[in-house]
């Protein structure tokens, strides 16, 4: 446990003493701020229509918060590879991996500590969304529960991609390669359910099940479904397990 904490601390520190953390936070603040602004703009435009008697009932949760959270997921696709690409690749290139492996600390502790560090970085980025959303709470009274479940969903979904990204980073010394591959895999996992649009055989169903988006939907509506939680947790566990095994295999192949 102490070892996990040591690694976690080191990871979080290394994000925040390098420009990575600040660059990612800034990029995220600008992009998510823009998306939130647009969502609110649409909402206002519609509300004028609603006053004139057209359109349905106005709902801030459904029309502003949900689209914003879905957009957050899209931005994460771009940011997560940048968080994970250095995770192992950098240690392998600089040789510090030798220090970690020859220290009396277990492989899973290294992997878990690093993953938690990346998750912490991701959570810091996500929390900026709260600043945007707080405006809605000041001037309106949206339901806070879907917001809370959306954040939980985002963390779980991010956790999946971070654990996959960590695994990919462990397979190479090249950070750019790790980042690019993670981005590709994330994008695919994001869009797997597009198959169901024109196909309905078993493969399409399997792929749709593996899609990260379809499991996020219920969270964004305020529903915590155990089947989605189990899906995310198992993907995270699988990613971490594979990372641990590939860290072990470093020795056999090195």
């Amino acid at each position: 446990m102490n070892n996990i904490l040591t690694i976690w601390q080191k990871e979080v520190k290394s994000y925040f003493v390098s420009p990575i953390a600040y660059a990612l936070l800034t990029i995220y603040a600008i992009v998510s701020g823009f998306f939130s602004y647009v969502a609110v703009g649409y909402f206002l435009d519609r509300s004028i229509g609603a006053q004139a008697g057209r359109g349905g009932p106005m709902d801030v949760n459904e029309w502003v918060i949900r689209p914003v959270m879905m957009n957050v997921g899209v931005i994460s696709l771009f940011l997560i590879p940048m968080i994970t690409m250095r995770l192992f690749a950098e240690e392998k290139r600089s040789g510090t991996i030798e220090l970690l492996i020859t220290s009396p600390i277990r492989d899973y502790e290294i992997v878990l500590g690093k993953w938690l560090g990346a998750l912490t970085m991701y959570a810091c980025i996500l929390s900026l969304t709260l600043v945007n959303l707080s405006v809605l709470f000041i001037f309106g009274s949206p339901d806070w529960r879907p917001v809370a479940t959306s954040f939980l969903g985002m963390l779980l979904q991010g956790g999946c991609l971070l654990s996959i990204g960590g695994f990919i980073s462990n397979t190479t010394k090249n950070q750019i390669l790790a980042g690019a591959a993670t981005f590709g895999v994330s994008l695919l996992m994001w869009t797997f359910d597009w198959f169901t649009g024109f196909k309905s055989d078993a493969w399409a169903k399997v792929l749709a099940y593996l899609s990260l988006t379809s499991h996020f939907e219920p969270f964004s509506k305020g529903v915590i479904d155990s089947k989605d939680v189990i899906f995310y947790v198992s993907v995270i566990a699988l990613g971490l397990f594979l990372t641990t095994r590939s860290l072990e295999s470093l020795r056999w192949r090195a």
């Binding site: 040591t6 290394s14 510090t96 020859t102």
Partner: protein
């Protein structure tokens, strides 16, 4: 303390380490010698549990590197060829991090960080970023990192590579200071270093063990055929002297090294096991020349090393 038995490391296509066995006793400083690519780093990595051997066993302090790796790791301090430093950390912060990794903490660790900074002469940069340090400082921080948990065994992979002469001297002194408390294996291809620091030498070449012995025995062993330096004065014709010397019983070869004014210097090789110094002296004096120098030319470690590794290559 360290026991290596029949260890091999094979990769598809080549064998990095081939059936190596040696032992190191507690408190000894052992030089691990070999040309580049001989398998030094691989052997060290096996001892530090970084990678397992393909076959054979190795143990440190009685613990097997495969089955009881945690126990081995606790007892080993390791400085890889490139010091494993995090550039974004400050020196003291880095040493604390490594201490934590080794299972230390609290006041104990804080005191230890001060101690090793002092010992390795990095106290004056303890609040500097590692990335801002010079090569010599980095190497010393690497050494400090290796001894932070006061390990029984120290494994140092080319601890002086890339340093300037002054830093090399400092690092050597540092290692000498650590000897006694720790059992040390250090790899190098700088031979005087071994002569200065190490009590024992393990020489490997192309993955195979070529020699393992104490420094003394090794140089003695290689001196099978003696070489004698001899300088004669009072005879301008060096050819005459050479002819005379060649006729002495037991001499296998006479090489003219230098002629100067009326003196000439030779190097004389004897047949194996023959002591020819007395006969040489008599021959010179009887001819009426002045013998001004007669000394055994001892083989330097360089020559020993080249001879050992060269036979290996040609074999």
């Amino acid at each position: 303390m360290i026991k290596v038995e029949g260890v091999s490391k094979r990769y598809p296509g080549h064998t990095a380490v081939d059936n190596i066995s040696f032992e190191v006793e507690k408190g000894q400083v052992v030089g691990f010698l070999g040309p580049n690519g001989a398998g030094k780093t691989t052997t060290m990595r096996i001892l530090t549990c970084f990678m397992p051997p393909s076959s054979g066993t190795a143990s440190v302090a009685g613990f097997d590197v495969m089955d009881q790796s945690m126990e081995v790791k606790r007892r080993i301090g390791y400085l890889p060829e490139t010091p494993p430093l995090y550039p974004e950390m400050e020196v003291a912060e880095y040493l604390t991090f490594v201490g934590n990794l080794k299972g230390m903490g609290g006041n104990n660790l804080r005191k230890r960080v001060d101690e090793v900074s002092e010992k390795c002469n990095v106290g004056d940069v303890r609040n500097k970023l590692v990335s801002k340090l010079s090569k010599g400082y980095k190497q010393r921080v690497g050494l400090a990192q290796a001894i932070i948990h006061n390990p029984e065994v120290l494994i140092l992979d080319e601890p002086t590579s890339g340093l300037d002469p002054k830093q090399i001297l400092e690092t050597r002194d540092l290692i000498k200071g650590l000897a006694g408390d720790h059992t040390i294996i250090l790899s190098t291809h700088i031979l005087p270093e071994v002569e200065q620091i190490c009590e024992r030498v393990v020489i490997i070449s192309r993955g195979k063990l070529v020699a393992t012995d104490s420094m003394e025995n090794l140089t003695n062993r290689m001196r099978g055929s003696e070489v004698i330096g001899l300088t004669v004065e009072g005879q301008p014709e060096s050819g005459v002297v050479q002819e005379k010397l060649e006729r002495v019983a037991g001499v296998s070869r006479v090489i003219l090294k230098l002629t100067q004014d009326s003196s000439c210097a030779f190097e004389i090789e004897s047949l194996q096991g023959r002591n020819i110094r007395a006969d040489l002296a008599r021959a010179v004096v009887e001819a009426g020349w002045n013998l001004i120098e007669l000394r055994p030319v001892s083989m330097s470690l360089e020559e020993v090393f080249l001879q050992l590794t060269a036979t290996e290559v040609s074999a």
